[in-house]
């Protein structure tokens, strides 16, 4: 028995059942992976109707190509890869792919940090007692996340929210590890700078 055949036994059972004609097993695959597919489609596509079509397209493609799945990754990672490629092609058609597609104020974030530090002793931004501030921070983070480019949003979500390894993200996106690290660094920095700017604007208004 090869090494690969020891990996992902649950995936193998489900795939085998689908290939033997059990469509309900494919329903189980959908249920177990749709949260990850939703993460990717929500981060990459803003239009709800497009998301609905793309999500169905993802699983129809997965079903059609299931016999070609080699168990070299988790089934969820393979389906996430299909989701990413499907959304990427959709964005490409709409010319929305560029990772640099974000807005940023030119104010230096170090300057803002200084303002915040002097204005808010003990850095109120992270003060646990000030729950209203925490709520604001949550809202600002969510708003600023949405302003990032689709690829930056997706990478941040896969790495920080889904806690995926670089290897898994490489498999899903097809990008080299170095590119992913570089994009992630820039995405985090842009997000942090934009959050601070937003926070400053709201503090001063």
């Amino acid at each position: 028995m090869s090494f690969n055949s020891y990996k992902y036994p649950e995936d193998k059972e489900l795939v085998s059942r689908v290939l033997n004609g059990d469509s309900q097993a494919f329903g189980i695959i959908i249920k177990s992976t749709e949260r990850l597919v939703a993460q990717i489609t929500f981060k990459m596509v803003t239009n709800p109707e497009d998301r609905k079509d793309l999500a169905q397209d993802v699983y129809l493609k997965a079903y059609k190509n299931l016999s070609g799945f080699k168990f070299q990754s988790k089934l969820s990672t393979w389906i996430a890869q299909i989701a990413y490629n499907t959304c990427f092609n959709h964005l490409e058609k709409k010319k929305l792919v560029l990772p640099e597609n974000y807005t940023q104020d030119e104010t230096d974030s170090n300057e803002i940090l200084e303002i915040l530090a002097t204005k808010s002793p003990g850095f109120e931004f992270i003060d646990n007692e000030a729950s209203y501030v925490k709520k604001d921070v949550k809202r600002i983070v969510m708003q600023e996340m949405e302003k990032l480019s689709p690829i930056f949003k997706t990478l941040i979500t896969l790495f920080h929210y889904e806690e995926m390894s670089y290897d898994e993200i490489c498999t899903i996106t097809g990008l080299p590890e170095g590119t992913i690290k570089s994009y992630l660094f820039r995405a985090r920095k842009n997000l942090k700078d934009n959050i601070l700017l937003k926070y400053k604007k709201e503090e001063l208004s």
């Binding site: 055949s5 193998k12 469509s23 749709e34 939703a38 993460q39 016999s67 931004f125 992270i126 601070l196």
Partner: protein, 149 residues
């Protein structure tokens, strides 16, 4: 006191302090500026993790299952097995032509030295053995991939 951390070092410190140089860790513990910068990232990462997970507002499973094709996705044939059909067709056609035209196989090799004939036969046999073994291995691999026991 060492220099302030770069943006890259600050991110790395927040993601995984254990991979950072001991001097950098020491610097952060004594530098309010760098502490502030790391805290911003910490808050940001925490907030990202606490965001609600998006969910489709329709029954995806139901919609997809209703659209599945009637035929099941079959195990894909290997490339070499796909060649069997046309190769068999060509061979049969060759035999048919030879039979109906009273074609003598020996005539083909009449001008070739005996060593050349042995060489051609050996190469053909080796190629057939190689393709056969390769095909067998591919099928074994595919069946093992589906072995769930």
């Amino acid at each position: 006191m060492t220099a302030h951390l770069t943006e890259h070092e600050i991110q790395q410190y927040v993601i995984d302090k254990t991979t950072c140089d001991a001097q950098l860790v020491e610097h952060v513990s004594t530098c309010p500026d760098c502490q502030l910068k790391t805290e911003v990232y910490q808050v940001m990462f925490t907030e990202i993790k606490e965001q609600p997970s998006p969910a489709f507002d329709f029954n995806l499973s139901e919609m997809v299952l209703a659209k599945l094709p009637v035929t099941q996705p079959k195990l894909k044939q290997s490339d070499s097995s796909l060649l069997i059909l046309p190769a068999t067709g060509i061979l049969l056609l060759g035999f048919a032509i030879a039979y109906f035209t009273d074609f003598r196989m020996a005539n083909v090799f009449s001008g070739v030295a005996i060593f050349g004939i042995y060489l051609i036969v050996t190469i053909v046999v080796l190629l057939c053995v190689f393709l056969g073994v390769d095909m067998y291995k591919k099928y074994q691999k595919q069946f093992r991939a589906l072995d769930i026991s």
